[in-house]
Each structure stands twice: as structure tokens, then as C-alpha cells.
């Protein structure tokens, strides 16, 4: 059951890749996360070159965010003005990120940079998730409700200039924080192949103070276009998008997500979050091990140049 990937120039077992995408899709459907931060490392563990894993996962994320975004749009839970402002930043970030990836690739450091980036990202996100889910579980056991969160906007956010009104979100804030947020997500998407939902969703809730009912839809619309832009730029600049691999990932991801969404209603959220936190930390540790452990072969070979 092997198939030849024309851009990665290698034979792969397509069934294994399909199952990997389905498993990640299942988790993302169940937990409402994009799953790029799990899919990219899995592809790297499988042996897909890091740069191709990153660029191709971006196109997979376009597909999976697209179906989510359409569903939210039907519910009118999208603030298009906010998405547009964030997207402006996102496109700039993605463009910088793709240029940076190209430079890292030329310097032969892209594999190490991607691994190191993931170690930091997964360590932070996993740690925060673990902390929060353990706390909530402990609080639930003690019979307490989780502590209420303060709803006032931070003073530094309010003091920024360039305020505009976002009607759908019932906000009147500066456009600087959403643009900066967009840039960060664009960079993450181009360099690491993640949608960045786990960064923007909390930021939109806690920093921008957007109402939670529009956060999901708005971030998904934003992610669709940023990952689409990232895909086009990676294809144009670095030739690292493998369309055959993308098709396998998209198909597997869609199948897994279907089951994930159905399972989500039957399972307890907090235990799932704890499981995901442990999984994220495990993947991060495995990547860290790869960076720190003495390699079997100190030399690596890349074709190219003349």
C-alpha cells in the first residue's frame, strides 16, 4: 500500500498517513482544536522532511478550518470585521514567516529550528493546559465552582490609539492588538505549520475580551485565509507543498473529525483536556530528546547546489 509523493520524492504507506490524519482529526473534532501542532510532528516522526511537513500541514488546516468556519458562519457567529483586521496582520506574518523558512532552509538549520520551535510551543501550551485541567478537576472534586474571571479590559489595551467599533463583538477597541495577534499567528503558521487557534482563541477571550460565542467562528475564518496564504507562499518560494500528501491528510482529517464531533457530546471535557495536555507534552518531550540526544550520525546530507 505504498504511494509515491512527488514533492517529498519518497514512497510512503498511505494507509499509515491516513490513519495518522484521522487520529489527529478525531482529536481536533472532539476538542475543537485544529490539530496542526500534533500533525506536523507526527509527519516528521514518520520521516517526511520537516519543511514539507510544515508547508503541507498548512494546506490541510485550510480544509479542516474551512468546514468549521462554514458551520459557524451559518450560525452567524463570525465577526467578519475582526477577522479582516486580524487577517491583515496574518498575511504580513505569514509572508515574513515564509521568507524566514527559506533562509533557515538555505542555512541548513530549518529542521533544528522547527524542532526547537515545537519544543517551546508544545511545552508552553501543554504546560498551561495541564495546569488548568488539573486545577479544574481538583476544584470539581472539592465541590467548588471554578474561580470567576474578571471581565474588564486591561488598561494597556484600552490606552492604545486607533480605536474602531466591532459591532458583532460589541467592542470599541484599538486595531493594534488584533493586528499584532494576526502577525503572530501568521508567523506560527508559516514556520511551524500550526493554525494557531490555541494561541488566538485564549488571546481573543482574555486580551481582546471578545464574547465567547463569536470567538470560535472568527478565529476559524482568520485561520482559513492565513493557512491558505501560507500554502501559496510556501509553494511559490520553497516548493515544499506536496499536493498528494495534502490530499491524504485532508481526507483522513475529515473522516476522523466526523467521529470526533460525535464523541465530544458523550465524553467529559475536562478529562479529555487532561489527556490532550499529556499527549502534547509527550510529543514535545520526544522532539526535545531528538535535539539533545547525541545523534547516531553527526553528518547530514542534503542534495542541492552544484
Amino acid at each position: 500500500m505504498e504511494i509515491y509523493l512527488p514533492i517529498a520524492e519518497m514512497s510512503v504507506h498511505w494507509l499509515i498517513l491516513l490513519s495518522m490524519a484521522a487520529a489527529v482529526g478525531f482529536l481536533s473534532g472532539m476538542l475543537g482544536v485544529g490539530g496542526g501542532f500534533l500533525l506536523t510532528p507526527l509527519l516528521i516522526f514518520y520521516g517526511i522532511p520537516s519543511e514539507i511537513a510544515v508547508a503541507t500541514t498548512a494546506s490541510h488546516l485550510t480544509a479542516s478550518s474551512m468546514s468549521g468556519a462554514i458551520a459557524q458562519w451559518r450560525r452567524k457567529a463570525v465577526d467578519f470585521k475582526m477577522a479582516g483586521v486580524m487577517l491583515a496582520g496574518g498575511l504580513v506574518g505569514s509572508w515574513f514567516g515564509v521568507i524566514l523558512s527559506g533562509l533557515l532552509r538555505a542555512a541548513g538549520q530549518s529542521e533544528i529550528a522547527i524542532s526547537a520551535g515545537y519544543v517551546v510551543l508544545l511545552g508552553t501550551v501543554g504546560g498551561l493546559m495541564l495546569n488548568e485541567s488539573v486545577r479544574t478537576l481538583l476544584a470539581a472534586r472539592a465541590g467548588l465552582s471554578p474561580p470567576p474571571r474578571h471581565q474588564k479590559q486591561y488598561a494597556w489595551v484600552r490606552s492604545l490609539p486607533g480605536k474602531i467599533r466591532f459591532r458583532q463583538s460589541r467592542l470599541y477597541i484599538s486595531i493594534i492588538p488584533p493586528i499584532v495577534l494576526g502577525v503572530v499567528v501568521g508567523l506560527l503558521s508559516a514556520i511551524l505549520g500550526v493554525g494557531g487557534g490555541f494561541v488566538i482563541v485564549p488571546a481573543m477571550i482574555y486580551i481582546l475580551r471578545m464574547p465567547t460565542n463569536v470567538v470560535m467562528g472568527t478565529s476559524l475564518v482568520q485561520i482559513v485565509f492565513v493557512t491558505a496564504m501560507t500554502t501559496v507562499l510556501h509553494a511559490a518560494d520553497n516548493y515544499t507543498v506536496d499536493i498528494v500528501l495534502a490530499a491524504i491528510l485532508v481526507l483522513g482529517g475529515a473522516m476522523g473529525a466526523q467521529f470526533g464531533v460525535r464523541m465530544a457530546s458523550r465524553l467529559r471535557g475536562e478529562q479529555l483536556r487532561l489527556l490532550l495536555a499529556i499527549l502534547v507534552l509527550a510529543v514535545g518531550l520526544r522532539l526535545l530528546y531528538g535535539l539533545v540526544a547525541t545523534p547516531n550520525d553527526l553528518y547530514t546530507l542534503a542534495l542541492g547546489g552544484s
Binding site: E2, I112, V241, I243, L251, V292, L298, L303
Partner: protein, 251 residues
């Protein structure tokens, strides 16, 4: 330059010795990499024609070399910095064969002298880049060895002694062509050695091509990358839209 050498040699072999000659061929002169390609074997076969019946198999050797197209290679060495292994030193080689296979009737060291092996670039130890990014050969040496080692590990370089003789004059050898070989023009060279000297040689071209959809995708991605990128995005969005339709129908 090697082609000229080979042609000269053929003339020499024809005029000087005349006693033994070589004919050889390939089981196929074209290898196509398709979507279910997992690697294949080609067979190089041949016969030794001898004009006098007194010639004996002792002191006679056959060496088969299959070379891929030349490629640029960058070899990097990892160094531990602050606990993390980072690529630091790099060496660029130009004109290394992307694929190299050699097989001989006896180990190469027993066939002839290192000088002759070097001259014809026979054997893994004789593979030399045509150019490198340093003027100090001693500095490049560990990198050259590492490049050869890496290619051996990934199955793209090999040195064996598995030439089969069927009777006195017929021989054949299986040459593995793994799925990861690069496209391009290959050559299959067959050398006949007598007492350590090349007495006859023949070279046959072999083409490795990506065919079918893969090839077209690869060409598309490199010829019009921007359109290719948009096509990838279009496919992703179409899939996303379709799966949202399915979700809607079920709920």
C-alpha cells in the same frame, strides 16, 4: 572526460589485445517511477568472447558500475552547542553521482591496483566530487566519507561481489534501483580485467524517469509554483466545503 577515456580504451583494447572481448546489455533501458513504485531490480548481463580457446578464467575479472546523474551535495556536521545539536560546519560538493552501484567478481582490491580503480572511478572509495567548497582536501575528507556513508545507508550507493557466472563466458548481476533514486540519465559500464588491466569496456545508457501523474505534478510545482499553490488551496477549500455539507446532512 571519462567518456573520452573509455572510447580510447575501447580502441586500445581492440587493437592491442584482441584476444578477449565483451558484449553486454541491460534487461531494460528505461526505469519508470510510478505511483506504486517501491523500487525494482535491473539486470546487467553480458558475455566474454574469446578468440583463442586457451584463455582461462583465472586472472580474469568482470566489474559492473552503474552511475546516476551528477548532483550537488551539501554535507553538514552537527556540533553540540548549549546542550543542543546544531548543524555548524558545512561542505559543498559538486558533481557527485546521485546513485552509484559497483559489483565485481572478486573484491575490488584483488582485481587491480588502487591507482587503476581511481582512474576509472571504480569502487566507493574512488568516488570523488568534481568540485568542493574548500581548497584543503584534508578538511573535505571526513565530509566526503560521510556523504558516501549516508548514501550507502539510504541504499543509493552499493559495492558488492555478486556477479553470477553462468558457465564460462556468460555473466549477469542484479542492480537494485530503490524508489528514492533521482531522475536522469544513468550509465551502466562493464569492464573486463585481465591480470589487473582493463582489456575491454562497454558503456550503455539507462534512463530513470518519473512517469504518469507524479511527474506531471512535480513539473507543475516547479514550472508554475504560484498556480500550483492556488491549486492546493482550491483543493483544500473544496474538501472543507464538501465535508461541511456532509456534516450538515447528518445533523
Amino acid at each position: 572526460m571519462r567518456a573520452v577515456l573509455l572510447a580510447l580504451l575501447l580502441c586500445l583494447a581492440a587493437t592491442a589485445t584482441g584476444a578477449e572481448d565483451l558484449v553486454s546489455g541491460l534487461s531494460q533501458d528505461q526505469v519508470e517511477i510510478t505511483s506504486n513504485y517501491t523500487g525494482t531490480d535491473i539486470v546487467v548481463f553480458g558475455a566474454i568472447e574469446s578468440s583463442d580457446n586457451n584463455s582461462t578464467p583465472t586472472g580474469r575479472d568482470v566489474v559492473v558500475v552503474v552511475r546516476g546523474p551528477d548532483a550537488g551535495m551539501i554535507v553538514r556536521r552537527k556540533v553540540r552547542i548549549a546542550g543542543i545539536w546544531i548543524n555548524r560546519d558545512a561542505m559543498r560538493f559538486g558533481g557527485m553521482p546521485a546513485y552509484y552501484f559497483v559489483s565485481s567478481t572478486r573484491p575490488l582490491a584483488a582485481v587491480t591496483t588502487p591507482q587503476i580503480l581511481q582512474r576509472y572511478q571504480i569502487g566507493l572509495a574512488s568516488i570523488e566530487p568534481q568540485s568542493m567548497s574548500t581548497h584543503v582536501p584534508a578538511k573535505a575528507e571526513p565530509f566526503r566519507l560521510a556523504a558516501i556513508h549516508e548514501r550507502v545507508v539510504s541504499g543509493l550507493y552499493a559495492e558488492t561481489t555478486n556477479i553470477e557466472f553462468l558457465g564460462y563466458s556468460l555473466f549477469r548481476v542484479r542492480v537494485p534501483i530503490p524508489a528514492t533514486v533521482p531522475r536522469g540519465e544513468y550509465t551502466a559500464e562493464v569492464y573486463l580485467f585481465r591480470d589487473g588491466n582493463v582489456v575491454s569496456a562497454q558503456s550503455t545508457p539507462l534512463y530513470v524517469e518519473q512517469s504518469g501523474l507524479e511527474r506531471r505534478i512535480y513539473r507543475f510545482a516547479h514550472a508554475s509554483p504560484l498556480t500550483y499553490g492556488f491549486a492546493a488551496v482550491f483543493m483544500a477549500m473544496l474538501f472543507g466545503w464538501l465535508s461541511s455539507l456532509i456534516v450538515r446532512q447528518q445533523s
